[in-house]
Symmetry: C2
Subunit: 220 residues, 2 copies
C-alpha cells in the first residue's frame, strides 16, 4: 500500500514534470537541477556561475526547508532568484518548480538553475522537467559516496567535485574516488572545482555552454 | 491525501518505535540514533567510540542505500555490526531496527548505536525508539545548516561538531555557528571533535557515560 501511494505521487509528479519540460523547450530555456548533500557547495558554485554568465538572463529556484539564506546570497549575483521553502519536505517536486516559474519573466531567460534541497537521496526520485541533473560532491565527504548513494550518481549527466582546495587537508583519495564513481556511472564528465579559489570554474562554464548548445541543437 | 498517508506511515512507525523503546528499557540498553548529512563523519566517530568502549558490549545498526562499506569499517572495531540496506529508502524506520535486533545478542549489550542513512531531513521524522538523537555536523558544511535544517537540530539531545581539524582551512566561523544553532536549540550540548586527530573524543565519551547513567537512573 505504501509503495502504491508513492508510485501515485511519482506518476503525478512526472506528469507535471513533462509539462515543465515542454515549456522549457518552447522557451529555449536550459534547465539544470543541482543535487548534493547539504554543504557540498551548490550555492557557492552558483554564485561563481552567475558572476560569469549574463546574470540577467539567468534565474535560480532554490529549495530549503527553512530560511531565505541561499536566496539572499544568490540575490547579490542575480536579479531572478526565488526561494522555495519546503517545510519538512526533503526534495523539490515538479509542481513547486511550475509555481516558482510564475514569479519569473521566463521569456527573458536563457538559464534556469534549480538548487535542490540538500539531500543525496530523495531529490533524485523527482523529475522536475530539467535537462540534466548535476551531482555535486565535495572532497571532504569521502570517496565512497558514489557507491553508497548510487542513484544520484547514476542519474547525473555531470558530476562536479567541489572544494578541491580542501582535498589535501582532508586526505581525499582521488584515484579511489574516480574508480568508485566509474562503478556506478561510466561516462559522466567530472569537473573539479574550488569555488573559494576559483580553480576549475572555467571548465564548469565551458561544460555549461557546450551543454546549452547541445540542448538547443536537439530542438532541431 | 498524500499527507494522510504519510501520517498513517508515521503512526505505524511510532507504534513499532514504542515497542523498541520498551524493549531497550527492559534490556538496560542505551540507544543513540546518529543523524547527519552524508560524509559528516558518523562512521569515523563510531570507530573511535567502539575503540574506547568495551566493544563486545556494543552493537551498531548501520543504514545505507547500498553497499556494506560502513559495516565493514565498523566490523574491524566491534563484533556486533549489522548493515541495513535501504535501497532507495532515505531513512531507517522502527521496523528495520526491530528486524536488525534479531541478528544481535541484545541481552549481552550495553550500547546500541544506530548510524542512520546520511540525510539531514527524513531520518528526523522517524522515531526508532532511541533514547536520544545525536546530530553531527562537520565544520566544512557551513555555519548556516542548523537554521536551514532546523528539525534535526531541534530534536537533537546532543550535537557533535566534527572535523574540527579542517575548521581553519575551511574558514569555519565558530561564533556564527553557535549563534545560529542557539536559534533553533537553546540547550543541547555541543561536543567538538576530530576523529582524525582524536581531539575532543574524550569529551564525547564523557558525555556518553553521563548520558547512560541518566538513562539507567530514570528506570528507577
Amino acid at each position: 500500500m505504501k509503495i502504491k501511494v508513492v508510485q501515485n505521487v511519482l506518476r503525478a509528479n512526472d506528469a507535471v514534470a513533462a509539462e515543465n519540460r515542454q515549456r522549457f523547450g518552447a522557451l529555449g530555456l536550459t534547465v539544470l537541477n543541482l543535487i548534493s548533500a547539504p554543504g557540498s557547495g551548490k550555492t557557492a558554485l552558483l554564485e561563481r556561475t552567475l558572476d560569469a554568465l549574463n546574470a540577467g538572463r539567468c534565474a535560480v529556484l532554490v529549495g530549503d526547508l527553512a530560511t531565505t539564506r541561499d536566496a539572499e546570497r544568490l540575490g547579490r549575483h542575480c536579479p531572478n532568484v526565488v526561494q522555495i521553502n519546503t517545510g519538512k519536505g526533503c526534495h523539490l517536486d515538479a509542481a513547486q518548480i511550475a509555481a516558482g516559474l510564475r514569479d519569473l519573466a521566463v521569456d527573458q531567460l536563457d538559464w534556469l538553475f534549480i538548487e535542490n534541497v540538500g539531500n543525496m537521496v530523495c531529490p533524485t526520485e523527482f523529475d522536475l522537467g530539467e535537462h540534466a541533473k548535476v551531482a555535486l560532491i565535495s572532497t571532504v565527504e569521502g570517496e565512497d559516496k558514489p557507491v553508497k548513494y548510487p542513484t544520484l550518481f547514476q542519474k547525473a549527466t555531470c558530476v562536479v567535485l567541489t572544494k578541491t582546495d580542501l582535498a589535501a587537508a582532508s586526505g581525499f583519495d582521488r584515484d579511489r574516488f574516480y574508480a568508485e564513481l566509474r562503478q556506478v556511472n561510466s561516462d559522466a564528465p567530472v569537473i573539479e572545482t574550488s569555488s573559494r579559489t576559483g580553480q576549475g570554474v572555467d571548465n564548469w562554464l565551458a561544460w555549461l555552454n557546450r551543454f546549452r548548445a547541445t540542448v538547443l541543437n536537439s530542438r532541431g
